[in-house]
């Protein structure tokens, strides 16, 4: 799950950069914009379509689909994630999803 979420974090960041670029540059950097777009497409290709669909739904709902867990706190909703849930996620017994906001949760601790 870690590798998938790392990939989705990168997609999320690059899509935000593309949104920024549309405001800042419009069509003035077609080569750079094209390079970013291709990178996003390549990253998306390797993700399970079901996960990707959920990612897009979350992005459409509030821009942030993947959040980082830092010191037991979800960085998107800023609420505590129970330690037991984190342990279950690390064991693979639970999806890596914030139990409070429903976003994908990238855990800082290694399993």
């Amino acid at each position: 799950m870690r590798a998938v979420l790392e990939r989705l974090l990168e997609v999320q960041e690059l899509e935000l950069v593309m949104a920024e670029s549309a405001i800042l540059h419009g069509d003035r950097h077609p080569a750079c914009a094209g390079r970013l777009k291709k990178k996003v497409e390549a990253l998306r290709r390797d993700v399970d379509p079901v996960v990707l669909r959920r990612f897009d739904q979350l992005r459409a709902r509030g821009n942030m689909a993947v959040s980082r867990e830092i010191d037991g706190v979800c960085n998107a909703c800023r609420l505590n994630v129970p330690k037991g849930d984190i342990n279950r996620m690390l064991r693979g017994a639970m999806e890596w999803v914030c139990p409070n906001c429903g976003r994908f949760l990238f855990l800082s601790a290694l399993p």
């Binding site: 935000l16 950069v17 949104a19 800042l24 950097h29 970013l36 980082r68 800023r78």
Partner: protein
């Protein structure tokens, strides 16, 4: 368009900072945000600025750059303005253009799109050459902050 006044008090305007390169400029512009606790760790924030810049330049005209980055070191949205003395600063390796106006935006990682209205406002400002020219001549931080905040972009039709 949003109200920039609260984000850009005169204390966030740095007139003619003595800097030799882009990183030193970013550092000078981060200092007011650090002093107010908006940025908690300058090194992490500067690293995040560098990473964002490597994805796509934030220089939008020859004279104006809008560096920004999402960072875990940022507590809330922050904006700082730097006005460089002539001849300006070479901002990009791939361009000889000399930057004279730099708006630095600190974005908290938990609110990754909070800055988009600010970017829209500042981009519209940057594409108004007369406004930029007037801003570059300003010697007062309060006046510079007022010029930016008071700017009302024309709606695009």
């Amino acid at each position: 368009m949003m109200d920039i006044k609260a984000l850009l008090p005169p204390a966030h305007v740095v007139i003619q900072p003595e800097v030799g390169d882009r990183r030193a400029l970013w550092h000078a512009l981060t200092q007011p945000l650090l002093d107010e606790g908006i940025v908690q760790d300058a090194d992490i924030f500067l690293r995040d600025l560098e990473r964002r810049e490597s994805q796509l330049t934030t220089r939008i005209t020859d004279l104006v750059a809008l560096p920004h980055a999402r960072s875990n070191a940022v507590r809330r949205l922050g904006l700082c303005l730097g006005l460089l003395a002539q001849p300006g600063l070479r901002y990009d390796d791939d361009s000889d253009a000399l930057c004279r106006v730099c708006f630095l935006i600190a974005i908290p990682a938990f609110a990754p799109t909070a800055h988009l209205p600010v970017l829209q406002h500042l981009a519209a400002f940057a594409f108004d050459p007369a406004r930029v020219e007037k801003l570059m001549e300003t010697k007062s931080a309060a006046l510079a902050a007022r010029q930016v905040a008071g700017f009302k972009p024309q709606s695009r039709t």
